[in-house]
């Protein structure tokens, strides 16, 4: 599942817990944080159904189980992103932008991600979804999805988590990976003492909106009337004049 960020494109949303953010939450008293993790599909069981191989296109779409959870014959794992993943994350960010024909909007590079996500005070954290070698894409990729998030704060309710990106490569969709990524982020946010998970979505992106609403979220803009505002470029330069 994804949403874009720029004009007339969807906003990506995701979140997940990584060791630096665990250390951050640990700096507050009385919070227990989860150990490093590596997860497999729930109950460790294989998903039913057929998965496209890395060497051929699927002859039929992957079906979903009635629960909406994975039903493809594939293992996947989700783990905290590390600095070596930035190449794949940058690739997937570009894939998304190219698919949406707005590649020129992407200014962030692999190096930016390395510096901004894996320094002493990271601006974001990430998780990646991986499949085993036998399910790699035809280009040879096993990292096929990611979620990117950061901690935020509500002056009314305290710690919160913001999901900036959620992406799964097209051929791996419909297998519950997106949902698994999102749920993992929610779990990690709770472990860090957050009581809100926030993100944005475009009002015309009905399928994404319907999906999120079906998962139990609510539309803060509709319900409470908050508008998203942004200052950038020359306006921001002007504002920042001492």
């Amino acid at each position: 599942m994804r949403l874009r960020e720029e004009e007339r494109v969807g906003k990506r949303v995701c979140f997940v817990q990584t060791p630096p953010s665990w250390r951050r939450a640990l700096s507050a008293p009385s919070l227990q944080l989860p150990p490093a993790f590596r997860v497999t599909e729930p109950c460790g069981s294989k998903l039913r159904g057929r998965v496209p191989s890395s060497r051929s296109k699927p002859s039929r779409p992957i079906s979903s189980s009635p629960s909406g959870y994975p039903s493809a014959d594939m293992d996947f794992s989700i783990r905290a992103a590390n600095v070596e993943d930035c190449k794949d994350i940058a690739r997937m960010i570009r894939e998304l932008a190219e698919y949406e024909k707005v590649a020129e909007h992407v200014r962030v590079t692999q190096r930016d991600l390395e510096q901004d996500g894996f320094s002493k005070n990271p601006f974001f954290h990430g998780i990646v979804a991986e499949v085993p070698e036998q399910h790699r894409t035809k280009e040879g990729h096993t990292k096929i999805g990611y979620a990117l998030y950061f901690y935020s704060y509500s002056s009314w309710t305290g710690r919160a988590i913001y999901m900036e990106d959620l992406y799964v490569m097209p051929e791996f969709r419909g297998t519950g990976i997106g949902k698994a990524l999102m749920s993992k982020v929610a779990q990690l946010g709770l472990a860090a003492g957050c009581n809100q998970l926030n993100f944005t979505v475009l009002d015309w992106n009905k399928s994404s909106l319907d999906f999120y609403l079906s998962q139990g979220c609510f539309d803060v803009t509709d319900k409470m009337g908050y508008h998203c505002m942004r200052c950038e470029g020359e306006a921001l330069e002007h504002l920042a004049q001492p």
Partner: protein
């Protein structure tokens, strides 16, 4: 009016908490405030703080009728855009009613922008209530774009039991 904008200290949290409530009353949602100065002290002044805060202070001789010299605040944190990079999010900007119209709000906002620029942030983002015309006009005058009106962006949230349920559905470790 003389005023100065400075970084908040842990000792300012009681004043900040007071003003958070005043802002919530202004936004007609006082029942939404759940945290106190204790959470602000814990979360804003730990090793990896969840937010930063600036306060606006006036001299003693200009204190409010209740005796307060800390008369405004701006609470913000850093965010990230995978397309544009580092950004800063202004969670709260507030000036006590008796001290408005004197440039304090602008002083706070500009200081946040300046702090963000030092960290190489390329965006400053915030949210404002649709009926809050004075604030919307204030931000529009500073060059902010309303992305909800112009592009249809909506804030979405999971909290309470819905957040718990989502988290419970995460793959097992």
């Amino acid at each position: 009016m003389d005023f100065r904008v400075r970084a908040a200290t842990k000792e300012d949290c009681k004043d900040i908490s007071r003003m958070i409530m005043e802002l919530a009353v202004y936004e007609k949602m006082p029942d939404q405030v759940e945290i106190s100065h204790k959470e602000l002290e814990r979360d804003g002044f730990c090793q990896n703080p969840f937010f930063e805060c600036l306060v606006a202070e006036v001299p003693e001789e200009q204190k409010s009728k209740e005796g307060f010299t800390v008369v405004g605040y701006a609470l913000y944190f850093y965010t990230y855009s995978t397309w544009r990079g580092r950004a800063v999010y202004l969670e709260d900007l507030y000036v006590m009613p008796a001290f408005r119209g004197k440039g304090i709000g602008k002083g706070l906002l500009c200081k946040v922008a300046e702090v963000g620029r030092k960290k190489e942030c390329v965006r400053l983002q915030l949210s404002v209530l649709d009926w809050n015309t004075p604030s919307r006009d204030f931000y529009a005058a500073k060059g902010a774009q309303d992305l909800t009106a112009s592009e249809g962006w909506h804030f979405i949230r999971f909290d309470g039991q819905n957040l718990d349920k989502l988290a419970n559905e995460a793959p097992k470790d």
